[in-house]
């Protein structure tokens, strides 16, 4: 049971949901799978007066468009994503990133849109506030921050933990957003503000409608890794997503996108490290250097008991391996052809 009262409406269309959210300005929330929102309401981190359920809206099946890009409905369940033959074939990195979210039940309930729009996390936030950490922190509208008491007022260093967002950013994907005045399309990367207090660049009455991923060009290869302690049902210590474009020799990098997730208020792209790979032959030394540079610039926020030092080493090691795996994947594909 949730400890406060709220009302519930079920929308038949996404347009209807947007209209309901607009009418209630600020006091209403969209409910997709509920796996992020309902635990948050149970802890009373969020206290909406109305939930607008999207569960009555049937998601469209993933489809490949005329230009080769793939369009995926934001209401698609993560289990559908990880098991879809089409998604696994056309965007295997997306299927892989959905496969590592939570446990099976979370993937059966959770949706793509909800995953991208999930709340940032902090140990001091994600618990009931009746025993310890009672006074609200900045994130809950209060006047303190427990783990970082010396922070300037209203700086919240909570961490955004989506496993899927880094993969989508590496893939240069866009989101289609439905608002009161129609739809707009932005890069997935532009969805994140980098501000823990308001992590998403969405207004109250805007909803994600779909994710669009451009077609992969010849020479494309990828690597994805979620670094965890147990290897199951766990938020990442870091999520590494890498998309590389290789020249015909299979070694020279012509484009690189690197994304590190689960270490800051939003996913981070180490642009300088990406550039250091472009036009170069990808050998071990160069990948090692790019990983070390990334680890330095990302400046991970200590979270879930991990120190900054530890998280930096973790990013360096796992990014190097993820880059190496991407290269190996390209070689295996070449050999298999």
């Amino acid at each position: 049971m949730i400890l406060f009262d709220f009302d519930y409406e079920r929308a038949d269309t996404l347009e209807q949901a947007v209209a309901l959210l607009a009418r209630l300005q600020g006091d209403a929330r969209a409910l997709a799978g509920g796996t992020d929102l309902l635990p948050g309401m149970r802890m009373e981190n969020i206290r909406p007066g109305l939930l607008v359920s999207l569960s009555g809206i049937e998601p469209e099946a993933p489809q490949v468009l005329a230009d080769g890009s793939i369009r995926i409905d934001a209401l698609t369940r993560l289990a559908t994503l990880e098991n879809s033959e089409l998604v696994r074939r056309v965007v295997p990195m997306l299927a892989q990133s959905a496969h590592v979210v939570g446990g099976n039940q979370i993937r059966q309930m959770g949706t793509l849109g909800g995953n991208l729009c999930q709340e940032v996390r902090c140990l001091h936030l994600d618990q009931k506030h009746d025993y310890q950490f009672v006074a609200p922190c900045y994130k809950r509208g209060g006047t303190c921050c427990y783990p970082f008491p010396r922070n300037a007022p209203e700086v919240c260093w909570s961490v955004y933990m989506s496993d899927i967002a880094p993969a989508l950013i590496a893939l240069n994907a866009q989101v289609e957003i439905l608002g009161e005045t129609g739809t707009r399309r932005i890069d997935v990367e532009a969805l994140f503000t980098g501000n823990g207090l308001k992590p998403l660049a969405l207004s109250q009455a805007e909803l994600l409608r779909a994710v669009l991923i451009p077609a992969a060009a010849p020479g494309f290869t990828w690597g994805f890794h979620k670094s965890t302690v147990r290897g199951g049902l766990e938020f990442g210590m870091a999520v590494l997503a890498v998309a590389l474009q290789l020249a015909e020799d299979g070694r020279t990098c012509t484009d690189a996108r690197i994304v590190v997730g689960a270490v800051r208020e939003g996913p981070v792209r180490p642009v300088a490290a990406e550039r250091s790979l472009i036009g170069k032959t990808l050998d071990e030394e160069r990948m090692e250097q790019a990983a070390a540079d990334t680890s330095r610039v990302v400046n991970p926020l200590p979270h879930h008991g991990f120190s900054k030092r530890h998280l930096m080493d973790n990013i360096r090691v796992h990014l190097r391996r993820t880059l190496a795996r991407a290269l190996q994947r390209a070689r295996d594909q070449e050999a298999g052809r």
């Binding site: 949730i2 519930y8 309930m109």
Partner: protein, 188 residues
């Protein structure tokens, strides 16, 4: 077995009660119908009531456990339309018209299901608190994938925590239930 009837849940009107969809109004109580293990139940619920509370407190099927109540442990796993979901973070109002299966629906009368028998045989039950959730996740897996590998089983049971068994006996039990060669029955 169980009475089917209208039961009012949550009629509390404390100062805790918040503004509803229309400013100043309280949330509406809704009448929902659920088919649990083949039997329809009509229940009146406030939106804030979870499926696990309806199953346990209203319908009276206490096999489904409520433990962490925040989506982490899997003890509350039930099947909605055949999919394993967490009843502790599912609003009851979201389940109107749905087919739900709980651990009580696995046995046919006195005859345990193959998965239940295998759990007994392998000693995959100690305190038993995780068992109903484990059984539901395992049942859903075997219905979708009758011959899973150990890796498939690990992945399917990833969302079910057990503090007692160390998991090996549970994974063995699921393998045994799937009728595969690579696990020896312990007692049979």
């Amino acid at each position: 077995m169980h009475e089917t009837g209208v039961v009012m849940l949550d009629v509390s009107k404390g100062k805790d009660v918040r503004v509803g969809a229309v400013a100043g109004a309280q949330s509406r109580t809704r009448l929902i119908s659920l088919c649990v293990n083949g039997e329809w139940h009509e229940v009146a619920v406030k939106p804030r009531i979870m499926l696990v509370e309806v199953i346990r407190d209203t319908i009276g099927l206490t096999g489904t456990k409520a433990s962490c109540e925040s989506g982490i442990c899997g003890a509350c796993t039930v099947l909605i339309e055949g999919r394993p979901v967490l009843a502790c973070i599912t609003l009851a109002v979201e389940c109107d018209g749905k087919q739900i299966r709980t651990v009580e629906g696995l046995a046919e009368g006195e005859k345990l299901s193959v998965v239940q028998e295998a759990f007994l045989d392998q000693g995959a039950v100690q305190c038993g608190f995780c068992t109903p959730g484990m059984l539901m996740s395992a049942t859903a897996l075997l219905e979708r994938n009758p011959k899973p590998t150990r890796q498939d089983i690990n992945k399917a049971l990833e969302g079910n925590l057990c503090r007692c068994t160390g998991y090996n006996a549970i994974v063995d039990a699921v393998l045994q239930a799937s009728g595969q060669e690579n696990v020896k029955p312990v007692m049979k």
